[in-house]
Symmetry: C2
Subunit: 447 residues, 2 copies
C-alpha cells in the first residue's frame, strides 16, 4: 500500500519528483461535465475563461445560472442573512462552537505576535520611510459542498482581521441538498469577524469577487484553497486582484529516526493521505526497521478509517517511504522537495531547524504533529504547496498589509544626490527627467 | 496638449478610469511581426505561450533561435564574460560609474533599515514562531535594446542582495547593433552584486529563468519590468516561480495647491510622460489658475525634450489636469485611482500622509520629486502600477524573504488544545485526523 524506496536517487526521480502546476489534468467524470456544459474537449482553463467572461458581462445573472448548472442549487438570494447565521449556531453542537472559538483564539493570538510597523527615518536630509497599511477588502474562498472546511476559513480570515483590513467577505458554495452553506462554515465565518457571506462557489465566485457584480462588491485580494476550477480562476484574475497562491493538493514530508513511534508516524501519514486522492504523504527515515514498521502500521490503521479508499489511492499515487543514510541527508532531500509540511519525528528536532531552507511549516517532535497545525496550533494551515515553499510563505498577516514608500527629502539631499540623478537620466536618454532635476538644482538657469 | 477637467465626475469616467490589464492591445507593427512569426491573428499571449513551450522543449536552441528572430542578434554565448564586464567599465564615463555607485549605495542604505527578524516565542506549552529565510535564487529582468534601464536593475537586485539571497542572475536583451548588452546595464549588474548575466530578452528570457535550460539554471522568483511580452510571460510562469508583479505602464498623480510652482509641476508631468506613449501623467489641483499655468508650461517645456513626441502622445492619451474643490478631495480621488507615484506639491504635505491608503510611493514637497525616486532617493522605483497599489507594495526586501512557520508544542499544549482539534476533525469528516490526535491523547487506548 505504501512503497519503501531504499535508493534516494530513485526516490528523487519518482516519489519526490515535482509535477508542474499546468501538467495537472481532471478526472474523466469532470471532463464529461465540461464537455456537456461547454462543448466537447473544453479544457478546465477554457471553461474557467468562459465563466469569468460571463460573470463580467452578465453579472448576477451569470452567478445564478452557474450556481444552478454547476452546484445544482437554485438561489433566491446570494447573500447569507443574519437569521441564517443565527440558525446555524442553533444547529451546531455547542462543544463544536467552543472548539471553533478556541481555534480562532489560538490563530489570533499567534498572528498578533507578527509585528510590522511603519518606519520613518528623519535626518538632516529630510525623511525616508515605509508606511505599512492594511488592504481594504479581502475575499476568502471557503470550500464547501460535500466537504466543508471551516478551519480553512479561520486560517485565512483571522490573519486578515489581525492586519486591520476594513472588510472581509466569504464565498462558499451551498450544499446541493439544502441550498444552504454548511452551518460549520457560517459559524466559523461569524466567529472570524467576516462582514458578508455569499452563497457562491467555483470559478464564478472568484470572478464575482475580482470584477464585482450588482450584488458582490469587488475585493482587493482573494485568499483560500479550492478545487482546480477555483485555482485556475484565481490564476486568471491575478493582476486584477491579488491572490495569495495557486494552492495545490496538500502534502507532508515526515522525517523520522529509529526512535520514532511507528504508530504515530503512520497515523500522521494517513491523516495527510485522507485529504484527497492527490495528496502526498512521504516518510524519510534513517531506519530500515522503522520503515517496515510504519509500512505495517499504515496497513493496519487504514482499515479503521472512513476515508480509507481516498487514503489508499493517495498513498499508492504519491505516497512513499524513503530510507536515507542520515537525518541530514533527509533534510537535504526535504529542501529540494520544499514540502508544505515538514514533520520532524526525531530525537533532537531543534538541531535541524537551522538547516531547513524550504518548507511551509516545521513541526518539531511527536507532540507537534500536523493535525494540531491543521486546527489549533496557531499558524495558518494555508501553506505553500507543490514546491512553492521555495519562495512562498504560509498565509500570514503580511498577506493583508502593504508598504507605501515615503520620500520627503530637502535641499541638502537634493544637492548631494541630485547631480547623480541628472547624470543617470541623461545616460538613459530621458531628457525630461534630467530637466526636472536641473530646474531644482539651478532654478533660475532655466527661466 | 494636456486637457483640463473641471468636473471630477467626468475625470473619474475618463482620465482617472482604470483599464484592466487584459484589455491592453499591441500596436499594429508589433501585431504584424506576430502574424509573420506565428501565423495571422496570433495574439501576444498565444505567441508567449508558443515561445515558453519551445524553450521548455528545446532549451538553449530555442533561446538562440528567438534571439536571432526577435532580437535580431546571433549569439555565440548566452553568458556575459568577466572580460565583457571589464570592458564595459572602460567604456563608460567614470562620472557615470560613480553615479551608479551612489545610487546603489542609497538603495542599499534605505533597504537595510527594513527590519524583519525571525521570532520564536517559548512558553510553558512549548514554542511557536516564524522563521524568516531568504529565497535562494532570484532572476532580474532588465529591459535593454534601444532603451536600457540600468536603474531598474539596481532597484530589483539590491533589495534582493540585502535580503541575503544566495544568487542573483540578470537577463537583459543585447543591442541589435552590437550583439552586446549595454555597458550601463553590465556595470549596474556588477555593482549590484549580480552573479551571472545572460544575453537574453523577451518571453524567452522569462521562460529560461522559470524552467531552466542547459545554460540557464532556474530561479525561484523573477522580478523587474519589461514590455508586454515579458509581462505576459511572467503571468504565464507564475506558480512555477514567483513574480513580484505584472508591471504596466508607469504613472504619476501630482497633487498641487495654489502655492505650487507651475514650472516644476509641468516638469514632473513631462518626466513621467516621456517614459512611454502609454504612461499616465495626471495633475489634481485645487487651483484653476495653477491648472492653466501648468498647461501653458507643459506646452513650453515640451519643445526642448528629445522625446517630445512620446511625451505628447502620452499626455494626449492618458494625461490630464483635474481641478478639484480641495486637497482632501484630491487625496480621495488618488485613493480610488491608487497611483504608482503620488506627488504632493502642496504647502504642508505631511498633514495628508495619514489620509493616503493606496499608492506605491508618496513624494512630499517640491524637493522630493519623482525623478529623485527614479534613481537615488533609496526606495525601489519598481512600484505597483495599474491600480495594483490597492494591494501591492514597491519592490522591497520582503519580496526576497519568506516565512516558515514553526510549531514545537508539548504535552501541556496537547492536553489543552488537542480535544478541540479532534472535535473539529470529526466535524470535517476526517477520521484519520481525529485518530492522529486521539493516539496522542490516549496512547494506550488505541494499541
Amino acid at each position: 500500500m505504501i512503497r519503501i524506496f531504499t535508493d534516494s536517487a530513485e526516490a528523487r526521480r519518482t516519489v519526490l519528483r515535482r509535477r508542474l502546476f499546468e501538467d495537472v489534468t481532471v478526472a474523466p467524470p469532470v471532463q464529461a461535465s465540461l464537455d456537456r456544459m461547454f462543448g466537447a474537449g473544453t479544457t478546465p482553463a477554457q471553461a474557467v475563461e468562459r465563466i469569468i467572461g460571463d460573470v463580467r458581462s452578465e453579472g448576477d445573472q451569470a452567478l445564478l445560472r452557474y450556481s444552478r448548472e454547476i452546484e445544482g442549487v437554485v438561489l433566491a438570494d446570494l447573500v447569507v442573512s443574519r437569521a441564517e447565521i443565527d440558525a446555524a449556531y442553533v444547529e451546531l453542537d455547542p462543544a463544536l462552537i467552543e472548539a471553533l472559538r478556541l481555534a480562532a483564539g489560538e490563530i489570533e493570538h499567534f498572528h498578533r505576535k507578527q509585528q510590522r510597523q511603519s518606519w520613518v527615518d528623519w535626518n538632516q536630509e529630510g525623511a525616508l520611510g515605509q508606511i505599512v497599511v492594511p488592504l481594504q477588502r479581502i475575499g476568502v474562498y471557503a470550500p464547501g459542498g460535500t466537504a466543508p472546511l471551516p478551519s480553512s476559513l479561520l486560517m485565512a480570515a483571522i490573519p486578515a482581521r489581525v492586519a486591520g483590513v476594513d472588510e472581509i467577505v466569504v464565498c462558499s458554495p451551498p450544499q446541493r441538498a439544502t441550498g444552504q452553506i454548511s452551518p460549520l462554515v457560517l459559524v466559523a465565518a461569524d466567529i472570524a469577524g467576516v462582514q458578508t457571506i455569499y452563497k457562491l462557489g467555483g470559478a464564478q465566485a472568484i470572478a464575482a469577487m475580482a470584477y464585482g457584480t450588482a450584488t458582490v462588491r469587488p475585493v482587493d485580494k482573494i485568499v483560500g484553497p479550492g478545487n482546480i476550477f477555483v485555482v485556475l480562476a484565481k490564476r486568471a484574475v491575478y493582476g486584477v486582484v491579488d491572490i495569495e497562491a495557486l494552492p495545490g493538493p496538500t502534502e507532508t514530508l515526515v522525517i523520522a529516526d529509529e526512535a520514532a513511534d511507528p504508530r504515530l508516524a503512520a497515523a500522521d501519514l494517513l491523516a495527510q493521505a485522507e485529504h484527497d486522492t492527490l495528496a502526498s504523504a512521504i516518510l524519510l527515515t534513517s531506519s530500515q526497521q522503522l520503515a517496515e514498521a510504519v509500512q505495517a502500521e499504515v496497513g493496519r490503521q487504514i482499515e479503521e478509517l472512513s476515508r480509507a479508499d481516498i487514503a489508499a489511492q493517495a498513498l499508492a499515487g504519491q505516497g512513499g517511504i524513503v530510507v536515507v543514510p542520515t537525518i541530514e541527508a533527509a533534510i537535504k532531500l526535504a529542501n529540494e522537495y520544499a514540502p508544505e509540511h515538514l514533520c520532524l519525528l526525531v530525537q533532537d528536532p531543534w538541531r535541524y531547524v537551522g538547516l531547513v531552507r524550504n518548507a511551509g511549516g516545521i513541526f518539531l517532535g511527536e507532540r507537534s504533529f500536523e493535525v494540531l497545525g491543521d486546527y489549533v496550533a496557531g499558524p495558518s494551515h494555508i501553506m505553500p504547496t507543490g514546491g512553492t515553499a521555495r519562495y512562498a510563505s504560509p498565509v500570514n498577516v503580511d498577506d493583508f498589509r502593504k508598504i507605501i514608500s515615503l520620500v520627503a527629502l530637502n535641499d541638502r539631499a537634493l544637492a548631494r544626490v541630485g547631480p547623480a540623478a541628472a547624470r543617470l537620466a541623461a545616460a538613459e536618454g530621458l531628457t525630461a527627467h534630467e530637466a526636472a532635476v536641473q530646474q531644482r538644482l539651478a532654478p533660475d538657469g532655466d527661466s
